[in-house]
Symmetry: C2
Subunit: 153 residues, 2 copies
DNA sequence: ATAAACTCTATTGACTCTATCGTGTTTTAA
DNA sequence: TTAAAACACGATAGAGTCAATAGAGTTTAT
């Protein structure tokens, strides 16, 4: 579940869209500049998110992107699953992206058993975190002095 | 933190070594056959684990590998970190494998803040699980009827 | 001495990933 | 009505990673 650059860009873009959620649309270029993301690459990513029904767009001179649902209705797990595939660290656990393993007997594989716990821990956080949480954290961090993350609860 | 095939092979091999932990050494070929791992590839992996001080070897005709420490003293996190690098899903969190991110301000990055929670959840499990746990689970699963993992607590 | 087994480096082929490019199409402000 | 802005979509290049194999060397029990 190492997040690719693509995935990071997507989540950062969604945070921007979440912050200005409403009927209005945000230009790609605005996101690109604010978040330091290559514009052409971002186009690709947003288009991909659109095909997943996560964002919607308006074309033309006053065009741009906006969230397709309220920020608190978009779990990060949904975004990551669409962009990166399985949350599980090994394919033989994943329900949606199952991949057969080479081990002698999957049902008796101790590694699979432990990795399932890891998967559940990850999924538990990412299913319950939404774009709204990202926005909330962004606001909170913005209004705080520069504390390292360890002191932020 | 998607585990590579290499990482899976390593952990499965360590489970075998854990099961027959003692002064005696296990041949690569035995592990390779039992676990369905390409022998030449496994050689490479075990040699790598040796350089990390996780296993030790004996050369010659009666040679082979054994754990360099008792199974309960080898946390899975150590193995995975050596083989795959950071446990964290994004490099800008990792203490041991830190990588700079392109975001405008890392200290105010909400994504980083959430991913730190994911990292902690993963690390919490993998720091406290050891090769001994893998062995214990293997034994347990072996003595059980074929239940899907969901019913195993 | 010989064979079995580890040691170590190199390399190959497939694949993935980031990023850029080109060329459309749609929309709308002027 | 026209031109510019922005999305749509596919193609592709370049770099890197990864699994797997290969080859030649060293060690050691018998």
């Amino acid at each position: 579940m190492k997040l690719s650059v693509r995935g990071k860009y997507a989540l950062r873009a969604l945070t921007v869209l979440g912050e200005s959620y409403g009927p209005e649309v945000v230009r790609i270029q605005a996101i690109s500049e604010q978040q330091n993301i290559p514009k052409r690459f971002l186009e690709q990513i947003l288009f991909d998110l659109k095909s997943a029904g996560i964002v919607e767009s308006r074309r033309g001179v006053a065009g741009g992107y906006r969230l397709a649902a309220p920020p608190d209705k978009i779990p990060l797990a949904k975004v990551i699953r669409h962009l990166e595939g399985a949350l599980a660290p090994v394919g033989c656990i994943s329900e949606r992206f199952y991949e057969k393993c080479s081990c002698p007997d999957e049902l008796k594989c101790p590694l699979r058993s432990i990795m399932k716990e890891v998967r559940d821990a990850i999924a538990n956080i990412l299913e319950h975190s939404t774009v709204a949480d990202l926005v909330a954290r962004a606001v909170k961090l913005r209004n705080q002095p520069d504390l390292p993350l360890d002191y932020v609860i």
